[in-house]
Structure formats: structure tokens, C-alpha cells
């Protein structure tokens, strides 16, 4: 009891981290596309591990928050072993890795020997985070440690990385699958029961689980956010309602950006206040900009700024250089709204959703494009660009031709409609 009270400050994710296997949602994994029981296989690997055994390490790969790290700690607890962990927050240069893992992996030191203390598991978490200059030489070191290790090594990664090819060759890779929605909901219910919360709506749990795509950690975080945000019935407005009024928020935000903002600091404050995804927000600005600014010279200034902002955003994404983010905000916020000087804004402007134009073929045209692809032996993209306009033109000239074309391609009524337009 005392322990739980002490723990009440902890985030629920830590508080309810499973200690033993039996508390866990059983993760499923695939090895070479065959489903296997991850826990069984891991226990087998760890129990059968000897210094002479060939298999020194395994790799778990899967999305975040599905219990990869937890499963190792739970197994260690069950088998009464100690986990030596290194993760991406440590700098993993050759030297530091070697120091840390060598000690753990080779020398059973005197104290160990005397007290016959716990066996160890070496856990290299976030191995796909090894890259760049700061982690130089880490991969060869890992490989070397693998050969000489006296303890089983478990590596954890989120995604395939080409730079890890050396490692993939040497280890068995378990692809851990995301948890099912039902499994997530079950755990969320369990937590609510332990927290003595009864006045929740089952619908909330479902939407939390759906939103997070099998990421249990994110789900628990969301649950805590929802439940501890005050448990009154009012504050428990369900999640879709929260999502619904974001567009309202954007509408008013765009309006004030163009009509109220007078200085750069105003613009910055306005954008800071909103928690709209900025990825989307600058597209909104782009869409609605010409409605508030209608003089060509001011338009040029505004678009120059938002285009630079777009460029910067691309670079941020590409090089993961988030230090550039302030420029991005200033340019598409203040840079755009302050370009407006003499333009007259009508009293009522209808703010519209950003239009997303992709170069992918729309579903309406796809079946027709596929048919043309087969007959003409050209790609479906080319079909929409050259052949469909031509067929349209041809069939508009005479009814006889229209019939011949539709007989030839065996068109259904929907596809005929496209040619009519």
C-alpha cells in the first residue's frame, strides 16, 4: 500500500510498467514472416545461453510503445537476472560502449563470484539511434562484444537501418507486432480499475486505442491526460469533440493573423497560443492568403516569405535540424501577415480548407486509366494525361465513335461518364 502511495506521483506509464511476464500484454513477433511466441523464444534464448553457444544476440524490431523494452525487464525479473542497459541517450562512441559493455559482458568480477549474484542480460536499446559522428565506431564495437560476450545480448530497434546491415547478418531478428485494439483497451480498463475510476465512457477508451495505433505507451499517456485533467463529467467531453473544433480554432486564427496582427511579436504570440499542427497551419495560410491580400506587389512579398518558410520546413525535415523552426514560424506568420499594407479586406471572408492536390490518379479515373494501360501498353499516368483527353475529344465528335470506343474498351457507365465530361 505504501509503495503505491509513493508511486502516485509517477506517470502511469512508469507506475504500471509490467514487472513480471504475467502482467504483460503478450506481444506477438515474426521471424522471417513466421509468427512466433516472442516471450517463449526469448526465455529459451536467455536460458540456453552459454559462452560457447553460437547465438550471442537477438534483435527486436517494432514500433515504439509496444513493450519491447518492458518484455526484457519482465523476463529478467522472472528469471532473477540483472539488466545492463545502454540506450540512445548515452553517447555511444567506441570507447564508452566498450567500457560499459566489456565490464558487464566479460569480467565476472570478484564480488559477483563470491556472492554468486545475479546473472546479467545486456540490453542495447535504440540501436537504430546509433549514427553520425558522436556514435562513431559503435557498430564494430557491438559486433566485437557480441563475439566475446559471456551474457546474452538483446538489441532493440524501431526501424530498419541500412547502417545496421552488419548486425542484421549476425542476429535473429524478431519483428514485434503492434498490439491489437482489444489488448490496449483491456489494459486501459485494468489501469482505470486500479485507479478506482469508474465514471469513464467506454467510447473514450476505444477512441484512445484507435488514435494510437497499438502504441500502448501513448495510449496510457493519453488516458492519464484525459482522466487527470479533472474527472468531472464536463471535462470528460469525448475526444472527437475535441478534434472537431480544431477547424473552428484555425478559422479564427487565420482571421486574426490577417486582420489583427500589427507587429512580428503579435504574430508570434498568436501562433504560440494555438496548438494547431504547424505542418497544417502554413498550408492554411497559403490557401487563404489571396483572400486577404489582393494587391499584386503585396502578394509577391507574402508568397516570397511563405515559400522560403516552406523551403526551411523541408530542410528541417530533411536534416532533422529543428533549430531552424523559429525562422519558419516568423516567415509564414509575421512575414505573411505584415506583407499586407494597403490591401482592403472585406468584412466577411470565407476561410477555406487547404486544397491538397496530389499527382496521384484519383479513384474515379483509375479504372479507366487501367484499361487504357492494358490496351495502349503505356503507364496509367500517361493515360490520364494524353489518352483520356484524346478519347474525350474523339467521342465528343460523333455518337458512333463514342459507341465504338466504349465497345472496344468495354466501358461501364461510370467510365463512360468520365469521357462525357
Amino acid at each position: 500500500m505504501e509503495e503505491i502511495e509513493k508511486k502516485s506521483e509517477l506517470p502511469w506509464v512508469e507506475k504500471y510498467r509490467p514487472k513480471f511476464i504475467k502482467e504483460m500484454a503478450k506481444p506477438v513477433a515474426k521471424v522471417n514472416r513466421q509468427k512466433v511466441d516472442l516471450i517463449d523464444e526469448l526465455i529459451k534464448f536467455i536460458k540456453n545461453f552459454k559462452k560457447e553457444s553460437k547465438e550471442k544476440a537477438v534483435l527486436l524490431e517494432g514500433p515504439p510503445g509496444i513493450g519491447k523494452t518492458s518484455v526484457i525487464y519482465a523476463i529478467a525479473n522472472d528469471l532473477n537476472m540483472q539488466v545492463i542497459e545502454t540506450n540512445a541517450s548515452d553517447t555511444r562512441t567506441q570507447k564508452s560502449l566498450k567500457r560499459k559493455l566489456d565490464e558487464a559482458s566479460k569480467s565476472r568480477d570478484m564480488i559477483d563470484f563470491i556472492f554468486k549474484s545475479k546473472n546479467k542480460i545486456i540490453l542495447i536499446d535504440e540501436i537504430d539511434g546509433i549514427y553520425g559522428v558522436s556514435d562513431k565506431g559503435a557498430i564494430p564495437t557491438v559486433l566485437e562484444i557480441m563475439i566475446n560476450s559471456e551474457f546474452p545480448i538483446v538489441m532493440i530497434a524501431n526501424e530498419y537501418k541500412r547502417s545496421l546491415n552488419q548486425i542484421y547478418k549476425k542476429v535473429r531478428k524478431f519483428e514485434v507486432q503492434p498490439l491489437s485494439e482489444e489488448a490496449v483497451i483491456k489494459i486501459l480498463e485494468k489501469i482505470l480499475k486500479r485507479e478506482n475510476i469508474n465514471d469513464f465512457k467506454p467510447k473514450d477508451l476505444i477512441s484512445i486505442a484507435q488514435k494510437n495505433n497499438g502504441d500502448l505507451r501513448a495510449s496510457i499517456n493519453d488516458l492519464q491526460g484525459l482522466m487527470q485533467g479533472g474527472r468531472s463529467a464536463e471535462s470528460l467531453k469525448n475526444l472527437d469533440e475535441l478534434q472537431r473544433d480544431t477547424s473552428e480554432v484555425i478559422f479564427s486564427l487565420i482571421r486574426s493573423l490577417f486582420t489583427e496582427v500589427k507587429t512580428l511579436i503579435d504574430a508570434k504570440r498568436l501562433l504560440d497560443k494555438s496548438d494547431v499542427d504547424y505542418d497544417l497551419l502554413y498550408r492554411w495560410v497559403n490557401e487563404n492568403l489571396p483572400k486577404y491580400i489582393n494587391l499584386n506587389d503585396e502578394l509577391v512579398d507574402a508568397f516570397e516569405n511563405i515559400s522560403t518558410a516552406d523551403q526551411i520546413f523541408g530542410r528541417i525535415r530533411k536534416y532533422q535540424n529543428w533549430a531552424l523552426l523559429p525562422y519558419f514560424f516568423d516567415l509564414f506568420g509575421g512575414g505573411v501577415s505584415l506583407a499586407k499594407k494597403r490591401s482592403y479586406t472585406p468584412k466577411f471572408v470565407k476561410t477555406t480548407f487547404p486544397e491538397i492536390i496530389s499527382s496521384r490518379i484519383g479513384t474515379d479515373k483509375l479504372s479507366l486509366a487501367k484499361k487504357i494501360e492494358d490496351v495502349y501498353e503505356i503507364s496509367s499516368i500517361e493515360a490520364t494525361r494524353t489518352v483520356i483527353p484524346f478519347l474525350k475529344l474523339l467521342s465528343s465528335k460523333s455518337i458512333k465513335m463514342k459507341k465504338e470506343i466504349s465497345d472496344w474498351l468495354q466501358l461501364d457507365s461510370k467510365e463512360k461518364q468520365i469521357l462525357k465530361k
Partner: protein, 348 residues
Amino acid sequence: MTINSPVWSVKYIPKTLSEICGREQIKFQLKEYISKKNFPHLLLTGYHGVGKTNIAKCFAKEFLGGSYESNLKTLFADVPISKEERKQAGIRSTFSTGMIGSRAGKKRYIHPFLDIKVKPFVQIKAIGEIPFKILIVKNFETLGQFQQGFRRLMETYGSNCRIILITSKISAIIDPIISRCQILFIPPVEYKNFSDFIEIVLKKEKIKINEPALRVLYKYSEGQLNKAIDILQLSAMISTNINSEVLFEVINSDSDKKIKELLKPILKGDFSAVRTQLRKIRREFNYSAQEIYKQLLDEIIKFPFSKSIKIQYINYIADADFRSIDGQDDDIQLSNLISKMCLLSEKF
């Protein structure tokens, strides 16, 4: 299917190497390959629409003889991945962790083109009494950095499968690929061969065209037989005796002119009109921003502006194209470009 087609360009498409219009040098070389029963990886290059793919196909069919159906495959490098292929690729997908924000933990796909479309074909042994299979890849340059994946493939499976790459932009092909291929440049059709070919169509369809009109047709179609036959068919629906007037009437309604129509509102300086129209075009023809830039450039060069204004416009287009490399949203870069163009036309 092709012979009964009401569309002439499909009906009269050459079906064997000897039927192909002109280009004797290329035909001779390919026939040599057929008689020797061996050829290196090929890279066919030439302007858009000159018939590279058809030459490759006719050659492959004749080379493989009767067993071509199971040993020949044509792939389009620029076609977006379908849902089923996406599903297949999903098995090998990974989850991104590198990004923060809304993208974190979302699925990310490895380019499935090589894995799903190319590898299964090249790995399986050829069926029948032929030395190897043939794989044709169209628009190869659109693979971009994934061209790298091809070079190992070409070496590893080269003995089992020869690859014919087709591209209209040889400068976009990486050096290692070029060094592994025999390069064939397919020139446009010459006027003499062109008129011979059209003559066959005219005879079979029982229509007539006079000499000046035929010259106009040749010039306008830039040696692209497909396009010429399409125009011919449209003209034939107006009159069976085609002269230049009929031809011009058809050419003026040609769908290729859509981008040119943009210039009108640009010259008026009407930004919103341009943007609306541009978006409409992009939606209808699924153009990427790069393709729009290219077409705009072509139109600007042809248009009777003064030299300095042309240069200014070209400058704007170049700048926008450059910015699109880094940018995330093509619409923003295009809007920026047209706003500048509108302002410039306001000034003169």
C-alpha cells in the same frame, strides 16, 4: 484487341521490327542481336513520343520468339504504387522514429518498386528455349536515387535476365547505370519515312491529305507518329479531304495547350484566376510541379515577349523550380511563381 480498335494510333501501331518507321541503323543493330541470340543491357534514349517503347517491345518479342509472354515484362517506374502492392510492402514496412511531431511512430515504406515489381521477375529462371528473359523499364529516370538498387541487380541477375531501360532524360541516369548499358539513341522519324507511313494509314482509311498539310502535320507533331495519327483521325472526322485549314482547326483544340491558356490571365495580372485554373489543370492531368515548370518554360520561350522580359520570366521559373527541391508543398511554390509573374505583367 489492337486491330479492331477504333483509335487509329492503336490500330496502326507497328507490330514487328521491320514495320517500324525509318530508323534503319537501329533496326539493323537490333536484328543483328536477334540473329546472334545475345545482347548487352540496353538503354534506349530519345525525345518523348518517338517510339522507344514500341521499338523495345517489338525487339523483345522477336528476340524471345514464341515464349515471349512469360519471359517479357514491362514496368513503369513512374506509376504510383497500388493498394495491393502497398499491402505487400507493408509486410516489410518500418516505423519511423526519427521524426517528432505528428509523424512519429507512423509507418514508412521502403520503395517497393525493386522488391515487389523487379526482383520476383528477374530471380525466376527463364522458361523455354531462350538464353534469358527480358525486362523493360519505362521512364527509368523517375526512380531517382533508387537507380542505385538497380546496378547490383543488373550484375547479379544479368545472366538470367537482360534489362532494357527507357528514358527521355539521359542526364538523370546515374553513371554506374550508364556504364553497364549499351546506349541507343532513337532519333525522331524523318519526313520521307513519315509520309510513307501516313500514306499507308490514308489508303486504308480512304482519306486524302494534301502535301502542305502533311508538312504542317509533320512539323506540329515533332516526329511523333502517335500524335500525328491522333490529329489525323480528328481531322478525318471533319473532312475526308484534309487541307491545312482543317488541320489548324484540330490543332487549336489540342489538349496540350492547357498550360498556354494560363498565360492569358497571367498577362492580365489576375492572380486568383491563374491559381484556380492552374489547380484545375493539375487536378485533371495529375501534373507534378516540375512538369508545370517545364511546360511553362516551353510556352514562355515561344511567346512573343521582349527578350529582357522573357529572361525575367525564366529567372522566376528557375527560382521556383529550385525552391521546390527543398520545399514540402508544391502549391506554395507555384503560387509564389505566379504571383511574381502577375506582378511583372502589371508593370509593362
